[in-house]
């Protein structure tokens, strides 16, 4: 791997055993902290909001989203999140949960989705999307991820996502792989999932959308990815753009069979 060269150059400075023991106790405390948060995840509040939004008539056509087809047929919410992203016949596109919700809002409710796409994260428009995703993800909790690559467009999207994962650019030369292409590494005290292997992708994919305790906000995967790109010093990805769906497809398919723990809670 890339960093082997770096490690050899610095071999003389690898830390002593004492430092490692201290690190272990730090990580143990962090795990205790996370455990205390798990019971009583404020994401539940957003789940309830999302369910209400799902069932409440809205938009120019004044209908609810209850007839939205998330891939398992009109109105089926349970289990749908576990199989997204997927290819949809009516749009002939591979769509993630949020992209599909936009399709339903446009087609069923007659909503102008351009305003939702443009609205910044944290705006009421995006908050509504986040609540909906939280509700939909909760209806697949404890189910295994089961994303298909059977359709050529699904496989193509996966391949593009994998390539995007390694795409390095910007003033800091960062790609997704810079931080998520190796096992056992951390940023500060946060352990980084290795998204190039099933285990790491499983840990990552099955814990989003998540309640962020740092901001008290509910973050969807779209928001998570947009903020990853911000930290990468990239321009901002368009909401539900192909880059975001491709990366999700890559992560989700890598995470196949992992059990969903959605919605999650994060730092």
């Amino acid at each position: 791997m890339k960093r082997h060269h770096l490690c050899i150059a610095f071999a003389a400075v690898i830390s002593a055993g004492a430092a490692r023991a201290e690190t272990d106790s730090s990580l143990q405390s962090i795990e205790q902290y996370r455990e205390a948060l798990r019971d009583g995840n404020p994401a539940e509040l957003f789940e309830a909001q999302g369910e209400e939004i799902w069932k409440t008539p809205a938009g120019p056509k004044n209908v609810s989203l209850e007839q939205c087809d998330l891939g398992l047929g009109a109105g089926v919410v349970k289990g749908a999140f576990a199989q997204l992203p997927r290819w949809f016949k009516d749009t002939d596109r591979v769509q993630d949960t949020e992209s599909r919700l936009l399709t339903c809002k446009e087609k069923l409710q007659g909503v102008d989705i351009k305003a939702i796409i443009k609205a910044p994260f944290g705006s009421p428009e995006k908050d509504e999307m986040n609540a909906l995703v939280t509700y939909i993800s909760g209806a697949s909790k404890d189910m295994p991820v089961k994303v298909s690559l059977a359709h050529p467009k699904e496989q193509a999207m996966f391949n593009l996502g994998r390539r995007m994962f390694y795409f390095e650019a910007g003033p800091h030369d960062f790609s997704c792989a810079t931080c998520h292409g190796q096992s056992g590494a951390r940023i500060r005290l946060q352990e980084l999932p290795d998204l190039t292997i099933g285990k790491g992708a499983g840990v990552a994919w099955t814990s989003w959308p998540a309640y962020r305790v740092s901001s008290g906000q509910m973050w969807s995967m779209q928001w998570r990815l947009a903020d990853c790109f911000r930290q990468q010093r990239f321009p901002e990805p368009n909401y539900t753009s192909d880059v975001t769906v491709a990366l999700s497809m890559f992560m989700a398919a890598m995470a196949n069979d992992a059990k969903l723990d959605t919605p999650g809670i994060k730092r």
């Binding site: 791997m1 890339k2 960093r3 060269h5 770096l6 490690c7 150059a9 610095f10 071999a11 003389a12 400075v13 690898i14 830390s15 430092a19 201290e22 690190t23 730090s26 193509a156 391949n159 593009l160 994998r162 390539r163 995007m164 390694y166 795409f167 390095e168 650019a169 910007g170 003033p171 800091h172 030369d173 960062f174 790609s175 792989a177 810079t178 931080c179 292409g181 190796q182 056992g184 590494a185 951390r186 940023i187 500060r188 005290l189 980084l192 790109f229 911000r230 930290q231 010093r233 990239f234 321009p235 901002e236 990805p237 368009n238 753009s241 192909d242 880059v243 975001t244 491709a246």
Partner: protein, 213 residues
């Protein structure tokens, strides 16, 4: 549109892959047109983070192909050596031969992960992101492990001229020593000023710095 340059650049950077060997089903050479179209349609300018940032230089294009960035083939090894030589040539050494600045300021630079994101101002303070990936001073328990521990760096490495030179060069342009290092090119990409690099040098090498206690 600046992003038009991506595709030719990618192709130019991968002659060996395009001409010889089996075509893989993903990555550079497999779906270049679709990939370039995806990049072009998927981003928008935000603040100082404009679309121009998606234009790769030759190092970035090369390192975006994991097979060549880490592969053991003779072609890959030679290509990496070439990239390293190119990057080494960019390093600007301290003009007045002053290598060390103020380690206290260096600690602040090392702690900060700010600067150059879409939510930062153009003239905002830029940090070095160092603790994100390295253990440095023993007092900071929240350190990352993507890079090696730098605790006691100066104590172990000493202050010989070649150590000063290597350390400066590594901070200025890490890719001069490892073509596809995960470490940003602090000086070369204009992330850090010369004074900030001096301060980081002091943090790592000054005998009084907490790093060497």
């Amino acid at each position: 549109m600046k992003t038009f340059f991506i595709l030719p650049l990618l192709l130019a950077a991968t002659p060996a892959l395009a001409e010889s060997g089996p075509k893989t089903d993903w990555g550079q050479g497999a779906d270049d047109a679709a990939f370039a179209a995806m990049i072009k349609s998927s981003f928008h300018d935000k603040g100082i983070a404009t679309l121009a940032r998606l234009d790769q230089d030759s190092t970035q294009a090369f390192c975006s192909d994991p097979a060549r960035a880490t592969g053991a083939s003779k072609e890959a090894v030679e290509a990496r050596e070439k990239i390293e030589a190119e990057n080494l040539a960019t390093i600007k050494w301290p003009a007045d031969n002053t290598w060390l600045g103020d380690w206290k300021k260096g600690e602040a630079v090392a702690q900060s992960g700010r600067g150059l994101t879409s939510s930062d101002k153009a003239d905002g303070v830029r940090g070095g992101n160092c603790y994100n990936c390295h253990q440095i001073s023993k007092q900071e328990i929240a350190y990352g492990t993507i890079g090696p521990s730098l605790w006691n760096y100066g104590k172990i490495k000493g202050d010989a001229p070649e150590t000063l030179r290597y350390t400066w060069g590594k901070i200025y342009n890490s890719k001069a020593y490892n073509a596809c290092s995960n470490m940003p090119r602090g000086g070369h990409m204009g992330i850090l000023s010369e004074d900030q690099i001096r301060d980081l040098m002091a943090l790592l090498l000054h005998p009084q710095s907490p790093v060497n206690q």
